[in-house]
Amino acid sequence: MNATASTFAPEPADMVWPAIRWAVARDLKVALRSRAELGVQLLFYVIVASLFPLATTPERNTLASIGPGVLWVAALLASLLSLPRLFAGDHADGTLEQIALSPYPLVALVSGKIVAHWLTTGLPVALIAPLLGLQYALGGEALAVLVATLLIGTPILSLLGAIGAALTLGLRASGSLLALLILPLYVPVLIFGAGAVEATRTGLGASAHLSLLGAGLLVACVGAPFACAAAVRIALD
């Protein structure tokens, strides 16, 4: 199978949207059948964020200054923990192979899976973050910016993470390997995400950080699905 040719060949536009819609709907249905798993992932985020005050200090000023970073690192870890779910199940029962063999473009199908992954992992994290932010003594404006950065940033985590999840499909110790591959690539998202909240808190304004995060999201949207589809084909060969 010539991976590059089939991945990058122009596809009729009327095949792209139905493929994305189908993949989103199907993955959402699968994810919602195991709600407990989704709940556990969200709980992981809450617990990691709750450990830091115990490890450092309950003093409000310190908590407010480490809060944005802690909440963002916890979001990175929660994303990392949920990534194997993206392809591993479908790979194990052969569904992924059928998806790759379908006449619909694999890039579109993979994009749909990434969207569904974000809706079930990144979005809940962004929505629960203000509650945790309150525990870290963050003010109203900082909380709003925290949610905004997570809404823009977590899709980037899902997009980049999908490449790593596809590359490590079916390998030994794939979980820790995935962390080594993906966390260095998450660094810019972490810097701009946590930096935006910090800048708001100190009165500098978050617009530059938010613009850069938005730019990162656009670049990731354009590039990551192609790399991810290529990685899926490599894993299936």
């Binding site: 030994r172 390997l177 810097i191 850069l212």
Partner: protein, 247 residues
Amino acid sequence: MNANWFKFASPATFYPLAGRLIPWFATGAAVLALVGLYIGLIAAPTDAQQGDAYRIIFIHVPAAWMSMFLYVVMAGWSAAALGFNTRLSAMMAQAIAPTGAVMTFIALWTGAFWGRPTWGTYWAWDARMTSELILLFLYLGVIALRNAIDDPRRADRACGVLALTGVVNIPIIYFSVYWWNTLHQGSSVSLTKAPAMATIMLTGMLIMSLAAWFYAIAATLARVRTIMLERERGAGWVATLREVRTA
């Protein structure tokens, strides 16, 4: 001239060529390193501000240059491997990764030894040091992914995709770390304001950089030869090699 540019794209023809080139590059690296170290450690004067501690730059700076450059070269070979589906390109990418990781490690380690006497700390979250550390993680990621995949063809392509993803991200990572660092102007020390360098120091550093180049080429070629033997052990041309028959 009608040369066949692809003659040496085959392991069977490249293996003996690499074997002939290695002694030249290895000798070149040794001679250049001796000259460079003589200039750096003996001929160059003691620095007025940093004393003799500055002399570590003759190792540190070439290693740091090579660490970044080798990642780009590795990504280039990976792109060639993915684009043209050539075996040798992927083997070259595989052979470069450990040398690049070693150069990154040397740059970080000598940087720490330089930092201690000059700024009083082994480690500061300076933009360059932080991005060099992340570069080390990227190298280790490529090597770890390679080791985790048993099928060499799949490993080639998976590492290729990872190396290309990394090379797109390196400027973004560097920029973000730099920006983060300038926003957090704490007690940090500025590495960027390098004092104007005397010509003899610059000469020593350039010669040491050439030595690092030659060493990297020799090490990569030596490693790619063993990779070729390992992967092509079933091929006919390997069986006809003198070193294989006598072993």
